[in-house]
């Protein structure tokens, strides 16, 4: 029998398949772990309604649990409360930046969701002389930017 903390530790191995430097805990996708007797229940929540990575993350969680010899488990997806980019942990934001993806502005910055594009620093050179190319980038959760200083394109994790 494992404790909840041990299960959480195990699940650190499960990364976002599209951004393999950030774990589902850091991403805020892992919502709950419950252990009752020999039964484990893991709750995850999708980032976007149509995020194709969700099914992969669910399979990865199941695989990790199975590999650890846990036989009785249930991984469920819940919609509410709705995931928000504010749930990405500080370490997660740092990992994104190091990976070359600008972390999302906080939702308290209402401009990010409603109005103009927020000022975004280039993850390569740090310049804030950047321009939004498209609100829709390589995955549903990212917008495409270009840095005028170093001329490199980069992704911004969209505020949601």
């Amino acid at each position: 029998m494992r404790t909840e903390a041990e299960i959480r530790e195990l699940l650190e191995q499960v990364k976002d398949p599209e951004i393999p430097v950030i774990s589902i805990r850091e991403l805020g996708v892992l919502r709950d772990v419950k252990v009752e007797g020999d039964r484990v229940e893991v709750t995850i929540t999708p980032t976007y309604s149509g995020c194709p990575a969700m099914d992969v993350m669910q399979q990865d969680v199941e695989q990790v649990l199975r590999a650890a010899g846990i036989e009785r488990f249930n991984v469920k997806q819940v919609l509410s409360p709705a995931w928000s980019t504010d749930w990405i942990s500080e370490s997660g934001r740092k990992s994104l930046l190091e990976y070359g993806i600008a972390p999302p502005p906080h939702t308290s910055d209402i401009r990010a969701l409603k109005g103009d594009a927020p000022v975004t620093a280039c993850p390569q050179c740090g310049s804030t002389d950047t321009v939004l190319v498209s609100q829709f980038g390589s995955t549903p959760c990212k917008a495409l930017y270009k840095c005028n200083a170093c001329q490199e394109p980069f992704d911004l994790f969209k505020c949601l």
Partner: protein
């Protein structure tokens, strides 16, 4: 009609609107007028199809006959599809695609906003997710409509033609069917009159900035909510469903 039947029809309608429009937008994948737009439309289609999965899964549960999201999406014929006609029209040129998306998004956003306060847990949960996605969709379609309207003579004319052609499909959005009336009366879903006011204000604001003319209301097409569709949905469903129809139950 019982409340359960109404809820089933409502969830199917919401799912079908998103699924059918999502499929139409996905037809741009690999054919977009520029790479960024190709990616944008594929992303928006993905959001919509994700919403459709949530709604159709819920519809199957409400119905209680064991139908899955896939059963509902791939094994119903056009007469059982309950989407509004606007969503099923061919993608046309890019002005038509943008104008259609704009007219739908301007309706979809206030509807999803209202559903975030629904007394039905699941409708609320789906809306909580969808509302932010749809905010991005409306921004995208508004910006392009403004760019076309306020662009060259050619882009302006194409955008105006698209609006004029599509206008007759906007009336249906706001005419409740029996299921919508029942659920609105029970306070589970919003009154469509209230949604229309917001839609109309968005349309006026964006068209003014786009220097486009709001078409005058005339004869309005309807029928989609009852399963009476245009000739366009049949071929679309045939393409969308071909794999499940050819190899029933196939998985990959």
């Amino acid at each position: 009609m019982t409340q359960q039947e109404a809820l089933f029809r409502y969830a199917v309608r919401m799912g079908d609107n998103s699924l059918v429009l999502g499929h139409r937008l996905s037809e741009w994948c690999g054919h977009g007028p520029q790479l960024e737009e190709d990616i944008a439309q594929a992303n928006i289609a993905l959001d919509l199809i994700g919403q459709a999965r949530n709604y159709l899964t819920y519809a199957g549960e409400v119905e209680g006959k064991g139908r899955s999201e896939d059963d509902l999406a791939y094994l119903r014929t056009d007469r059982d599809y309950l989407n509004v006609l606007l969503t099923e029209l061919p993608k046309g040129d890019y002005a038509q695609t943008i104008a259609r998306s704009f007219l739908f998004d301007a309706f979809h956003l206030p509807l999803q906003q209202a559903l975030t306060t629904s007394t039905d847990e699941r409708l609320k949960g789906i809306a909580d997710k969808a509302v932010k996605e749809v905010t991005y969709h409306l921004r995208h379609s508004s910006e392009w409509l403004i760019r076309f309207g306020d662009g060259t003579e050619e882009s302006h004319n194409r955008a105006q033609t698209a609006l004029d052609d599509l206008w007759r499909f906007t009336g249906e959005l706001f005419i409740p069917d029996e299921a919508e009336e029942l659920l609105a009366k029970a306070g589970i879903t919003p009154q469509l009159d209230a949604i229309k006011k917001e839609w109309s204000a968005t349309v006026d604001r964006v068209l003014q900035e786009a220097t486009l003319k709001r078409p005058t209301d005339g004869w309005m097409a309807s029928g989609g909510k009852k399963g009476i569709h245009t000739e366009h949905i049949g071929p679309m469903l045939a393409e969308m469903q071909t794999l499940q129809r050819t190899y029933p139950g196939v998985e990959w």
